[in-house]
Every structure is written in C-alpha cells, then in structure tokens.
Symmetry: C2
Subunit: 445 residues, 2 copies
Amino acid sequence: MIRDPKRLSTSEAIRQQHGRDLTSYHAGRFPDVVLYPKDKEELREIIAYANRIGCPIVPFGLGTSVEGQVVPVQGGISLNFTHMNRILEIRADDFAVRVEPGVTRMQLNRELKKYGLYFPIDPGVDATLGGMAATNASGCSAVRYGSTREQILGMEAILADGSPIRTGSLAKKSSAGYNLTQLLAGSEGTLAVFAELTLRVYGLPETFLYAKAVFPDLQQACKAANRMLYRSIQPSKIELVDAYTIQAINSYKQTKYEEKPTLFLELSGWKSAVTAEVERVKEIIQEEGAGAWSHTFDESFGEQLWDARRHAALAIAALAPEKKLMTTDVCVPLSVLPEAVSFAREVMQAEDLQGAILGHIGDGNYHAVFPIDPSVPEEAAKAAKVNERIVRFALERGGTCSGEHGIGLGKKQYLTEEHGDAVPWMKKIKEAFDPNHILNPGKIF
Amino acid sequence: MIRDPKRLSTSEAIRQQHGRDLTSYHAGRFPDVVLYPKDKEELREIIAYANRIGCPIVPFGLGTSVEGQVVPVQGGISLNFTHMNRILEIRADDFAVRVEPGVTRMQLNRELKKYGLYFPIDPGVDATLGGMAATNASGCSAVRYGSTREQILGMEAILADGSPIRTGSLAKKSSAGYNLTQLLAGSEGTLAVFAELTLRVYGLPETFLYAKAVFPDLQQACKAANRMLYRSIQPSKIELVDAYTIQAINSYKQTKYEEKPTLFLELSGWKSAVTAEVERVKEIIQEEGAGAWSHTFDESFGEQLWDARRHAALAIAALAPEKKLMTTDVCVPLSVLPEAVSFAREVMQAEDLQGAILGHIGDGNYHAVFPIDPSVPEEAAKAAKVNERIVRFALERGGTCSGEHGIGLGKKQYLTEEHGDAVPWMKKIKEAFDPNHILNPGKIF
Ligand SMILES: Cc1cc2nc3c(=O)[nH]c(=O)nc-3n(C[C@H](O)[C@H](O)[C@H](O)COP(=O)(O)OP(=O)(O)OC[C@H]3O[C@@H](n4cnc5c(N)ncnc54)[C@H](O)[C@@H]3O)c2cc1C
Ligand SMILES: Cc1cc2nc3c(=O)[nH]c(=O)nc-3n(C[C@H](O)[C@H](O)[C@H](O)COP(=O)(O)OP(=O)(O)OC[C@H]3O[C@@H](n4cnc5c(N)ncnc54)[C@H](O)[C@@H]3O)c2cc1C
C-alpha cells in the first residue's frame, strides 16, 4: 500500500487539518489516518483495501471547498494528493494536458505560460484540479469558458473496489457510450477517486482589458451586466461586488475603491476586437446609469482588481474574525438575477444580518455571504432562515441551489428540494458504484 | 395509454419505415407497433406498461441516425415523437428554450429567428432535438459551440419504470448532485426517454462571413485548419471536403467547384471583429499554400456553400445509388488529424475502395464514407477492414471511435476496444435504470 511510512500520518495536528474545510463552518471530525499516495498503484491498493475492510475514504485536495466536502464525518482515511502533483504531459498542439489530481490550478498555469497557454477556471483561491473536478468549481471565468466540468476531456479514476477506468479521450468530443466523465465530475469524491485528469487548455489571448463600473444600486449593476450579454458581448470575467464587500476589501487591502455596488470586468482576445468591444460596453454601462467608469490595458491595474476580487471572501471574514462564514450559492436564470439579488439583500436586512452579496453574475450565480457564530443558536437559526429563503426563491424560478460549490454537508436538504424525483436515481448510481459506501460517505445525500 | 387509435399504427408500411434508419446500412427489423404519444402523460403510461409486460421500446425521432440506433432489433414498440413537437417556451432573456423532443432543429430555428436568437448545432440534415440529444449530435458548428450535450441545461425524462424525473434547471450552470443530464445525453434511448428538453440558445451574430480555400492536398488543408486554431482564431464552422466529395457535390448539385481538397469556412460575430479576423485567416491559408481563396459577406454564396456541404453525404450516396453508405466517425487529437486523414486515404486506396473523406476538422472529427453493397460478402469484409484500421489508428493515438454519431449497432465492438474497462460500469448503470432491458435493447452494448 503506502510504501513509505513518511507518507502516512496519525498525528493529531495533521488529522485535525484534514478534519475541516477552510471555512470551518461545518462541524469537523478527524480522520483516523491521513495517507499521501504517490502514484496510481498505491492509490488503487489503498482503495481496494479500504473497500475490503469497509473503511471510509475522503479525498482531500487543498480543503478549500465550502460545504464540508472534506470532513470525514465517519472517520477513516483522508487521502491527501500532495504527492500526486505531477504535470504528466502538455500537448500544446492539442490544447490538452494530462495531470495528476494534486496539481493546483496556479501550478498548472505557471507551467502553461511557457507555452502561451492557460487554464482559465478560477475559483479565486488556489485549489487542486482534482478538487475542482470533484466539486465542478467555476468562478470568475465560467461566463466565457464554462465550469471545470466543461474542461475535462477524460480521466483515469479508481472506483470503490479498486478498479481503474479510463473515461473520455484526448479528442475534443465523443459520442462513445455513456459519458462517465461528466457523471464523475461534480461527484464530490462519492463515486470515484480521480487518479489522472485530461484537461482542455486555451491559447493565451493577445490582450486583456480591465474595467470597473460603479453603480448607485445593485439592481442596476445586474441589469447592466445582463444588457451586455443580451448584446452578444462576451466578457471573460464579469463580477458583481456590493458596497459591503468593497468596504471589506478596502479595509483588508488598504484600497480606496468607492464603496458602492461595482462591476469588475475583463475583456480579452485580439486587441482590435477588444478595443471595439469596450466601446460598446461603455455605452451600455453608461446608459444603465453607472457613475464612475474606468478601463485600461494596464496589467498592474488588472492584477490589483482581481486580487481584490479574489480576496473578497477573506476580507469579509476578516471583518468578524471570531465568526465563521456562511455562504449561499444559488444560480438563477439571467432574467431573474436583478430581482434575486434585491431579494437577498432584503432578506438579510429583515433578519438584521450583516453580510455581503457578490457573484459571477454573467452566469446568474451570486453568493450572499454572512459571518455568523454557529454555536449561538439564534444566529445559526437566522442564517439558516436566510439561506432557506434565498434558495427557495431561486428554486421557484427555475434556478439551482448550487451554482458551483456543490452539496457536501451544507446543501443536502436543498438537493432534495431541487431534485427530489431524481435523487433516488442518483442513489442507485451510488449503490452500483460504491455498494459498501466507503467513498466520502455522508456527503451529497 | 394512447387515447386516440389514430396515433397507433400496425400497418406494414409504417412499421417498415420505423424498422431502419436513413442509410439502411444496418439490417432492419420491424417494430410490432408504432405509437405516437401526444404528451408526457401518455408517454409515461406507455413506458410503465411496456415495462410491466417486458416489451421493448425504441424512441424514434426522424430516423437520421447512422449507426442503426432506431432499428428495433427485438421488435416491440417504436415511439414516434411527431405529435410531441411543441416549442413550450422561449425565454429570450435567459438564452433558453423548453421544447418537446419531437421539435426539429430547423423548426426551432425558424421560431427563434423572430427573437434574434438561434440554436447553432447543425448535423447537416434536419433532426429532432430528442434524437440529437440522444446521440449527442454535433456537426459543423461544434468547433465554436460544442456538441448537443453542451446545449442541454436540463430535461424531463421518463425512466424505464415510468418514473418522471427533472434534471438540471434553467440556470446556466449547477453543481447540485450527480449530473444526470449529461449521463442521459448521448445514451441513445437506452437509459430514459426524453419528454422535454431545456436548451441553451444564442444571440444571432451581427455578421456571417463565408469563405472557401482550395488546397493541393488533404494534409495541407488540415494543417491550415490547425494553424488557425493555434492562432486563436475561432471560426463558427470549418469543414474539410476532399476532391471525391467535391466531385459528388458537383454532379449532384450541378455546381462547378474546383475538384480538389477544400476548406469551407464561416466566421461570425461583430462585423469589425470578423473583418479583422478574416485577414488573419487569409494570411494563414496562403502561407499553407492554398490555391484559390474567396470570401464574402454575401448570404447567397453562404447558402450555396453550406447547402453543398449539407448534401455531401447524399451526393456521395447518389454516385452509387444501388449501394449503402458506410461511414467512419473517429475523432482524434488535433495534432494527429493531418496524419489520420492521410492514413484513411491510404487504407481506402490499399483496399481499392472508392470513397470520400470529409469532416468537422476543427474538432479533429472526420468521416471516411464509402458506398458498399453489404450483401456482397467481399465488399462488406473490405469495408469492415477499412473501418477497423481507421478506428484503431485513432484509438492508438488517444482518439475516439465516435465523435458524433454514437455507438448504436455499428460501433459496439469499438466501444469495447476504446473503453473496455469502463463498459462494465456503463452496464451497471443500465442495469440500475432499466433492469428489464426494455429501453432500446441491443444498442451500445
Ligand atoms: C475564499 C474562497 C473562495 C472560493 N470561491 C469559489 C468560486 O468562486 N468558485 C468556486 O467554484 N468555488 C469557490 N470556492 C470553493 C473551492 O475553491 C472549490 O470548491 C475547489 O474546487 C476545491 O478544491 P480543493 O483542492 O480545495 O478541494 P477540497 O476542498 O480538498 O475537496 C473538494 C472535494 O473534492 C474531492 N476530491 C479532492 N480530490 C479528489 C480526487 N483526486 N478524486 C476525487 N475527489 C476528490 C474531495 O473529497 C471533496 O469532496 C472558494 C473557496 C474559498 C475558501
Ligand atoms: C446525411 C446525414 C448527415 C449527417 N451528418 C451528421 C453530422 O454532421 N453530425 C452528427 O452529429 N450527426 C450527423 N448525422 C446523424 C444524425 O443526423 C444524428 O444522429 C441525429 O441526431 C439523429 O436525429 P433524429 O431525430 O433523426 O433521431 P433518430 O435517428 O430518430 O434517433 C436517434 C437516437 O435517438 C433516440 N431518441 C430519439 N428521440 C428520443 C427521445 N425523445 N428520448 C430518448 N431517445 C430518443 C433514438 O432511440 C435513437 O437511439 C447525419 C445523418 C445523415 C443521414
């Protein structure tokens, strides 16, 4: 199995680290042991062994998932992929790479840059590609490129009984049999453990343009974003941050952004196209009553802008360091977005909950984020209520309870609300693939 | 069940029509009865009933699939969706539509045009959206928009026991539980029957530009196409047709295209962007040694061009009307394409088989198409041999045996070659969803 005892740990500190996710909102339990497999063969042996003895296995990337996905609620083995972090092959001419699951997106992008390529999916924090595939992470660039699942051409996965399978191929598309790649993507470690991923990558655009537009209110910011999409403008990023978030960022990053609802934008592509596009964007933005507008090709401005956006959640957390962050993750049809965001703001106000609203609004996906102390029953109850009302509002209008974070522990009840008729069939698949329930038990269902 | 006897047929002629696909290459068997459900409720009742008595059900769209998918190899019911062809909702502001599965792509596009929208997926012939979802059809526009599966936001499906489930939502993305939408898409009627589809649609681009480039040989045409993609050019169509195909088209359509390997191209988007892009394309094309090059914004030229491309298969068939068309459908990594296409040409020559090569080369997907008489054992053997060598060449280089046509009857052995380790797990899903094997039995596996 693990052929080097250094890659096995039962130390309290290490187990604790693997017993919770970054937000720590979800109550933790330690794994009994943390294993660091170094290759497919070890991985296969561990899983087959765990299956024989009925021991739970919880894959662990960087532990940045926010719905308690990595918490080993039934103890057992936490599988850490730090030692499986090799970039196996860069096939520049095929716009494809093969990686081990412990490779992080930033690590991959550092390497890809040498080839004039990049992997655009950006959930803000760094994360392993295995973790991103398992939660179907998306983030800022999904509006142009889709989520992580759209980037997965194929994978090598180990099933619960230790069987390795290869799904997909190096080809850009396929209609060969059931699409197991897309079934396993987003399965949060409950159906299979990824041993290798084949991912799509892209040519680095010639130019990036960065822009910022400040609005008098949230609704107008959302409407402006929609109007762009309706006019076939394809930003590579379009992010909403509300006044509360800007305050948090200003205090965290010592920046001086105007403390009003703001759109952060990125256009990219050929310089000539971007230059023409930004004029159309500006026109729309101004018609929608934006106050300050600025745009630039200057990379340092762009870096500052996206750095601020990336640290938004941490900045919000820093406003109340003694609390934990709870976050909603609904995704609604685009036309519903302006109304949904206003509703979220009202609901928080009604419950007297301080919190932020920010989101990937080109997808209709936004987060209401509120720091709470889950050990204070009253606060937990308020948060649960706000969460519930926001989710229900989305579901009633054809939306989903999770745009990108996944179900984990935190959204189980909403999965049932959203897909009650389909859940029994998801469970049949779980049963067929993992009859002993060893793979990340207690998650999703 | 069927509440109007007019929507049930046991006539010989009708049963015969539902006993084969358009190419008739695959040996037919008639269904015992053809039913034309008119709504979900009837559909549900038929399926539940068939499941109780163990009667096979084969969904039938327009019967244009080419791997024998609609042939009822075990008899039973053929389910025709002609009466379930309503466009239920056009949500222009959400870039989404809800349709019944019998709606055809052309029917949908006629309606969408009124809203300045379109559904880009274009497998040449007209086809139902249910059939396209079930084979994961793609065709000319996949290079920009992806295949049919990428357009499916959600669906209502009836499972083998008559259970209706809703998958996905109206939101652009979701991480809520296992992705049943993507599992059912491409399942060729073997896992569920679609009762309703929610599809993504797009704003009609401001401009379309059409172009044609003639090359001295196939390899160079492929290389030119690849070079465009390497330079981040995003055509909305880029099609290869070889000299044989052009001959066939000229004779079928009375056109006078130069009888050499040719790229058919379409660029689309904002006029300013397209105008800049075509200059880059032209430069690349000429560097790669193209002979004649022409481009135009003229729609009638475009219509003629794509009409020719669309009729390519029929034109090839018309060269040998007494024979049947067999077609390969491999998809290879882009870098392998020039070599793969040359190999296909050599293999056909070696076997002295007349045939065409054409394809969606922006995806690495090409077809070798040869008219044969399957009742002449020698011809059938030759065709099988060519098919096998072409598929194996692709598989050895990381490609897939089916880029877009699916497995049906015709590619079963290659599915096993490609995904031998995964097939048992596909079968477990089949078993879990359709334990009585009533849904399109004998296909895929
Ligand atoms: C501040 C902050 C901001 C965030 N913003 C976004 C955002 O904008 N968009 C977004 O989508 N997400 C966001 N996230 C969530 C998070 O980054 C993603 O969920 C990420 O994909 C998790 O990656 P990870 O490597 O940390 O995985 P982990 O958290 O370690 O694991 C996530 C899941 O993947 C499974 N897993 C890990 N490796 C494997 C493997 N090899 N095989 C099978 N299963 C595996 C785990 O069991 C678990 O179920 C944010 C998180 C934080 C803390
Ligand atoms: C000349 C020619 C050119 C072609 N070119 C292309 C091309 O470029 N690209 C491409 O991808 N394809 C191409 N095809 C193949 C074909 O057009 C596609 O496979 C198409 O998707 C089939 O649609 P249909 O409505 O005819 O479905 P059918 O052939 O009737 O059925 C196809 C499959 O879908 C299932 N099905 C139908 N309706 C439902 C439903 N409601 N629920 C569940 N399952 C259902 C059937 O059981 C069957 O398995 C071509 C075919 C021809 C004849």
